[in-house]
């Protein structure tokens, strides 16, 4: 059976191809705008030059190793976010007084520019990957805590009553009812936290000139190698895609009904 043209474009592969074509079209427009001197080539390099710079920075700047370094830092921060962030969210949900006392402060932390505290982290952890991971963690923890509390507080009372009617223990209630019911909100928090962590990790690498892709971007920018700088940014985007896909896969595994 053949698929109609409309059917193809509304299918998942069709939508993906459409997204790719739109991206290529936008890059084409930017390329044309730079070549026509509408956009200054000293500020935004040609997309074709950026594409050409990718194999160069792979060969000359050891970009794959730096990619791996940044990925490891983001992974470490995301594990900390999941363990500590969800744990603190559960704690705040369990103790109402603690929640009333702390929730506003946690919300304030979400809006705070944590990255500006990097000198303090340098003093505590030194100029090391630990500083970078801890700043990423601190920047991303607030949404994880807040969305965990929101998810747990939003569990429908009837589901809790079902558990009570079957005489579940508090641990069973948490493991079998509260956590699965709150998982959707918890994942929203984890995704947000991960985005904040990623931005801050690359930002701190840039600021303290240490580690993976952030440091490379700093080096290349200081050398005024704009195509190389943008090519390195493409690798940051690639990390973001990797983590987005990974969290999606974990969520689908834990929430197969969605």
């Amino acid at each position: 059976m053949t698929m109609s043209a409309k059917g193809f474009w509304t299918s998942t592969p069709g939508a993906r191809i459409f997204g790719l074509l739109v991206t290529l079209a936008v890059l084409g427009v930017v390329e044309a705008a730079i070549r026509a001197d509408i956009v200054n080539a000293f500020i935004v390099p040609l997309p074709s030059q950026i594409a050409a710079a990718i194999p160069r920075i792979v060969a000359e700047e050891n970009v794959l190793y730096r990619f791996w370094q940044t990925t490891q830092e983001i992974f470490a921060a995301s594990v900390l976010l999941a363990l500590v962030g969800v744990g603190l969210g559960v704690l705040l949900y369990s103790f109402r007084t603690l929640r009333l006392a702390c929730e506003t402060w946690v919300a304030a932390l979400a809006a705070a520019p944590v990255v500006l505290m990097y000198p303090l982290f340098l003093v505590i952890f030194g100029r090391s990957a630990t500083t970078i991971v801890m700043i990423g963690f601190a920047a991303g923890i607030a949404p994880v805590i807040l969305k965990t509390v929101e998810g747990l507080a939003g569990v429908r009372p009837v589901l809790i009553d079902v558990g009570r009617s079957f005489r579940v223990s508090p641990a069973q209630q948490f493991r079998l009812i509260l956590l699965p019911a709150a998982l959707s909100s918890v994942f929203v928090g984890l995704r947000l936290g991960l985005v904040f962590a990623m931005i801050n990790i690359v930002g701190v690498e840039f600021l303290i000139n240490f580690g993976g892709l952030g440091q490379l971007i700093n080096d290349l920018a200081e050398r005024y190698d704009l195509p190389g700088t943008y090519a390195a940014i493409c690798f940051v985007v690639a990390i973001s895609i990797v983590f987005y896909v990974m969290t999606g896969k974990v969520e689908r595994r834990l929430r197969p009904h969605q």
Binding site: V158, L159, V162, S165, F166, R167, P256
Partner: protein, 276 residues
């Protein structure tokens, strides 16, 4: 006072139960001195207008609501809190969306520590009993409202309660589905000889399913009248077209009409009070 034979045989005994709630407008007595018995294998319905305390009685019997006056016993044992002899089916949609049908039904067995293979086998039996064979691996989101309520009933039956306590389980369903599900519940109840207490505000449902209907007054909820339903068993939804059925419905409605009118008047006066 000496107990009658029926009282002596009672599986569930509710004695002088009252419950008062503290509200911003002062204490509100939701249930006042309610007493009744349910014999083993009997199907009893409690009917009353909205706000008569039916759900309060449900929560007290299920052990979800404490701090009440009076006594509730199951087979002579006074119950405080939830009790393994009482299984509850709730009015609201209560299946776990993240579990398949069979996993939902196996939930109480998992709590009881039954090994996985065994509990899934037992759960499949109850899934079949409620007529959902073939839907074992589906998630609740893939089912209709009536099917989801059947999953909830199967889940409660899987815990093998001595008393099945249901709070308006078909309230959200259309009338035709409600009648047909009533047939299914009756079949199961008769097959298992399951002692059942149904809370409802639906006259047809109460008469179709019950051996006995307890009519409650509007707030505070008291027992106004007990009507024994002497319709033949096995019974199905065809019974609604019989003269005897119409007679019972009319008889109960006669008592209920006054209470329902009081409920509406009360709601209207409260709404008027709020707008002033």
């Amino acid at each position: 006072m000496m107990a009658t034979p029926a009282q002596a045989d009672a599986l569930l005994r509710v004695e002088h139960v009252s419950k008062t709630f503290a509200t911003p407008d002062g204490p509100v007595k939701a249930v006042d001195d309610v007493s009744f018995n349910v014999a083993p294998g009997q199907f009893v319905s409690i009917i009353g207008p909205s706000g008569c305390g039916k759900s309060t009685v449900f929560n007290i019997l299920g052990g979800l609501l404490g701090d009440y006056e009076g006594r509730v016993t199951v087979a002579g044992e006074t119950i405080k809190g939830t009790h393994p002899a009482i299984g509850m089916v709730f009015q609201e949609e209560s299946t776990f969306p993240w579990r398949t049908v069979v996993e939902n039904v196996a939930f109480p067995l998992e709590i009881a520590g039954v090994p996985k293979t065994e509990r899934l086998e037992q759960a499949a039996h109850f899934v079949q009993m409620v007529g959902l064979h073939g839907f074992e691996r589906r998630y609740p989101a893939e089912l209709s409202g009536g099917m989801r309520q059947r999953v909830a009933i199967a889940r409660t039956l899987a815990s093998k309660p001595r008393i099945l306590l249901m709070d308006e389980p078909f309230a959200a369903l259309d009338e035709q589905t409600r009648l047909l599900l009533g047939d299914k519940v009756l079949q199961i109840q008769q097959a298992l000889q399951q002692t059942t207490l149904l809370i409802t505000h639906n006259l047809t449902e109460a008469v179709q399913l019950s051996d006995r209907v307890l009519v409650m007054t509007y707030r505070p909820g008291r027992l106004k009248r007990v009507v024994d339903i002497d319709l033949a068993h096995p019974r199905d939804s065809e019974v609604v077209s019989s003269d005897a059925f119409g007679h019972y419905v009319a008889e109960i409605w006669h008592d209920l009409r006054e209470e329902a009118s009081r409920g509406i008047q009360d709601a209207e006066s409260q709404a008027l009070h709020r707008t002033r």
